[in-house]
Amino acid sequence: MNNEPERGIQRKLRKRLRVESFFKLLMAASTWLVLASLVLILAIILWKSLPALKLSMITRNPGSGYYLGREGGILNAILGSLQVVFGATLLALAIALPAVVFLTSYLRQKSWLAELIRFSLDVLWGIPSIVYGAFGFLIMITFHLRASLLAGMITVAMVELPILSRALEETIRLVPSDLKEATYSLGASRWQTATRVVLRQVFPGLVTAVLMAMGRGLGDAAAVLFTAGYTDKITTSLLQPVATLPLAIFFQLNSPFPEVQQRAYASAAILTVLVLFISLASRRLSRRLGRHKIS
């Protein structure tokens, strides 16, 4: 009978569907595993930080005997981190923005010069931040600087530069070339096109890139380890040492006193909230600023 081949096909189909459901199960399992462990990280930080999470953590500097478990907070580190990151991001943006404009508007995309610049950005992107920290330290010795806000800012700016440039270049490359050609045909120069049309088009992307770089700079401990120093006071000058949140967490965690360790957890929760705030802000802003985009 001609039933035989049909049964063979049926059997094969059943096998294929079994493979399908096996892999689907595997994928779903790994997805839930990832989600569970990521949520676990956040949950454990929050749970551990609860006992030490008081208002004084964010309103006061470390008092005398703070590192033995007495009164105080980490206002110095919160403000210090913000100072370092704002300065560093401004510096990095001041270099990345003109660099990317030159790279995308004045260079032919396939020229060896453009390739060289892109390659060195790739290399910079891959350099571990601890190496930037070491390089920053070498600069400091050469110019007889102490560990200071300025040195920390410069080092973090070097870490942020490739992140910013790459993100900017990618968003600029997405701008349709019709738009540029339309402005050229109206007699606009490349500079006018770049600054008045392209940059306006990519403004939401620019904001996201800046916030992303800020997030990275905020959490980078290795870059500020040798360059920014540490202090229990609020920094008021570029040449004073400055406290930063990741280092505050790191130092408190290494303390033998359980009270101080708990404060490390609380500081970690504060840092997490700051990063969360930045990531939410970048979502909101890019959506709101994207309203006028032509695509």
Binding site: S30, T31, A99
Partner: protein, 298 residues
């Protein structure tokens, strides 16, 4: 760009922005030169291969063998990569091909947040959870003794740290596979998994590879999170359960207070230079591969 000639009004801005574009080139060169100059005193005394492949690290007696640190870096990076990549690929396939919209809506913000979470927090979590897990459960399970501060702990922490990055980039790559291709395969009677295996994976292979390399390079240079859980013992690691001392951790623990012992400063700068050279190697490899792929497809 189709327009070749620059208008006269463009000369000024071109000249003004050009130096900034050369800044990255200059910076990369300056870092290389500065580290080379600082490492030179040691390099002129001993051969490079004796420094790299010797495993005696006794700075006070003038022995600067970097091999234990290099091995530590390789072990930690590779095992983190091996742990993370299969899970990341399965998860991103599920998210892009199967998951209901509701799951995606929950996942995306969590991934974004965790991709940006500072490494010191992952390290702290490692000390709290992963280190006890390794010493109390995983090591006895394999019949080993371990303090928990080990290569395994470091690679678990690192794997979890690079997962969000790899997943969110891969999902973007997978979403860019044209729907028409998938529909064509489905209409020929392929199951959804067969579509994934023969169409989606094939089409998105270069992008997925790029996502994995992104994760790899982040794992490779990670300092603080690794330093907190890896044990920092300068000896050749024997197994996943033994402690190690990767290069970035060596730098973080000793750089800045190395002036008193002769040669120490040079040795640490040589370690930093090694990290830089490996990164350059990676970038060259990636670039060569991309060129090959784009040539093949065109």
């Amino acid at each position: 760009m189709s327009i070749q000639r620059l208008s006269r009004r463009d000369r000024g801005p071109e000249l003004a922005t050009a130096p900034f574009a050369f800044f990255p080139v200059a910076l990369a060169g300056a870092i290389f030169l500065a580290l080379l100059i600082k490492a030179w005193p040691l390099l002129s005394l001993k051969s490079l291969s004796s420094l790299i492949f010797s495993s005696t690290w006794l700075p006070s007696r003038g022995h600067f063998g970097l091999w234990p640190f290099i091995l530590g870096t390789i072990w930690v990076t590779i095992s983190a990569f091996v742990l993370a990549v299969p899970v990341a690929i399965l998860t991103s396939l599920y998210l892009s091909e199967y998951a209901p919209a509701r799951v995606k809506r929950i996942f995306q913000p969590i991934l974004d947040l965790l991709a940006g979470l500072p490494s010191v927090i992952y390290g702290m979590w490692g000390v709290l959870i992963v280190v006890p897990l390794v010493s109390k459960y995983l090591a006895p399970f394999f019949g080993r003794q371990s303090s928990g501060y080990s290569i395994l702990a470091a690679s678990l922490v690192l794997a979890l740290m690079i997962l969000p990055t790899i997943i969110s980039v891969s999902v973007e790559v997978l979403n860019s596979v044209p729907l028409a291709l998938k529909e064509a395969a489905l209409s020929l009677g392929a199951t959804r998994f067969e579509v994934i295996r023969y169409v989606v994976m094939k089409k998105s292979f270069p992008g997925m590879l790029a996502a994995c390399v992104l994760g790899l390079s982040r794992a490779f240079g990670e300092t603080i999170a690794v330093l907190m859980v890896v044990g920092n013992v300068p000896a050749i690691p024997r197994s996943l359960f033994s402690p190690a001392y990767p290069l970035p951790a060596l730098l973080a623990n000793n750089y800045g207070e190395m002036m008193s012992i002769p040669g120490y400063e040079s040795a640490l700068n040589l370690a930093a230079l090694l990290l830089l050279v490996i990164v350059v190697g990676f970038s060259l490899l990636a670039r060569w591969y991309l060129v090959r792929i784009s040539r093949r497809s065109s």
